[in-house]
Amino acid sequence: MTHDEAVVTALCKKFPFLSERISVQREKRIFTKPLTPEEFQQIIPYVHRELNFYRACHVVGTDDGDTLGLLYILTDKNNTLLILRESVPKSNPVVKSISSIYPSILLHERELADLFGVVVEGLPEGPRYPLPDGWPEGNYPMRKEWNPKYFDKNTMTYNDPNVKEVK
């Protein structure tokens, strides 16, 4: 049994709901299908302590239409990548911070909050990153409905002629 298969079987034993939603795409690349935030919060401490995925490389945000996707990329000493995918509805994008377990993920979570408008619970107070000072609230430039054409950089205001209602 290879290391990748061992990881998959261990995860499936511990969390039965993962059994059909996890796969080895190629050598050293383990992907999961979108998980709910509750399921994700269950998996993370187990993966960190028992399976020794001690390092969080990156978080990728995606705009999937009605939902926002978050890809957490974790690695262990064999350089196996475990990519946990989380999806939250765009209308209520609330996610719990995992920076208490992986401190390096803090900057990535700030980036998600700034660029995608994900509400990260448990994020310590601090400066905004990476958008400039004076950026208007409620503008998330990495979302698909946001168009840089309608953003005035001198006055820092966003005027979309297609949207009449101002949130």
Partner: protein
């Protein structure tokens, strides 16, 4: 007046022979910054021809800018440009500094350096070779010398014009003086 002219000449001579530069990163990926530092360090060694890197904008003649201007650095770039004393010149290094490059129309980028402050020399390239930077400085200095020549020529031309004008005015006033006499 002679003292002022002497000081002006000394400043012009100084900027030609030994221009001091200040380097500012307006949002570059650090590729062009490494190349500018490379052109100053011993391999290419711009210092041997008198070009010195300065820490303070108040002592510098040439502002060497890299990278597209982001919204965060825009105000700082203007501040640094205003702090420099006249005569001041700007060199835009790299494709991003010239036009915005791949970051053009990005949500937090205003464009090239010339979207904020006037630029004298553009150096395209990604990343720029040190030879290109040296040639840019050389071209700027040539431009300076030519500008001085032009200024001197203009001054001479103005002087000649003034002389002719005063002469003409003198003639006109003389004619005007004569005219009422005739009427009377």
């Amino acid at each position: 007046m002679t003292n002022v002219n002497l000081i002006k000449k000394a400043i012009e001579w100084g900027t030609e022979k030994s221009p001091w530069i200040i380097h500012f990163n307006a949002g570059a990926c650090n590729g062009c910054d490494i190349e500018t530092i490379d052109s100053l360090t011993p391999r290419y060694d711009l210092e041997r021809v008198g070009i010195l890197k300065q820490g303070s904008p108040r002592h510098a003649d040439i502002l060497v800018c890299t990278g597209a201007v982001t919204l965060q650095t825009r105000d700082r770039l203007i501040q640094i440009y205003e702090q420099m004393s006249d005569p001041k010149f700007v060199i835009a290094i790299g494709t991003c500094a010239c036009t915005g490059g791949i970051f053009e129309d990005c949500y937090c980028v205003t464009g090239g350096i010339d979207s904020v402050i006037p630029v004298d020399v553009y150096v395209p390239g990604c990343a720029v070779r040190p030879e290109a930077i040296i040639s840019a400085v050389d071209k700027l200095l040539e431009k300076l010398k030519n500008a001085e020549k032009d200024e001197n020529q203009q001054k001479n031309a103005e002087k000649i014009e003034e002389k002719t004008e005063t002469a003409k005015n003198g003639e006109e006033t003389a004619e005007q003086k004569e005219e009422p006499k005739n009427d009377a």
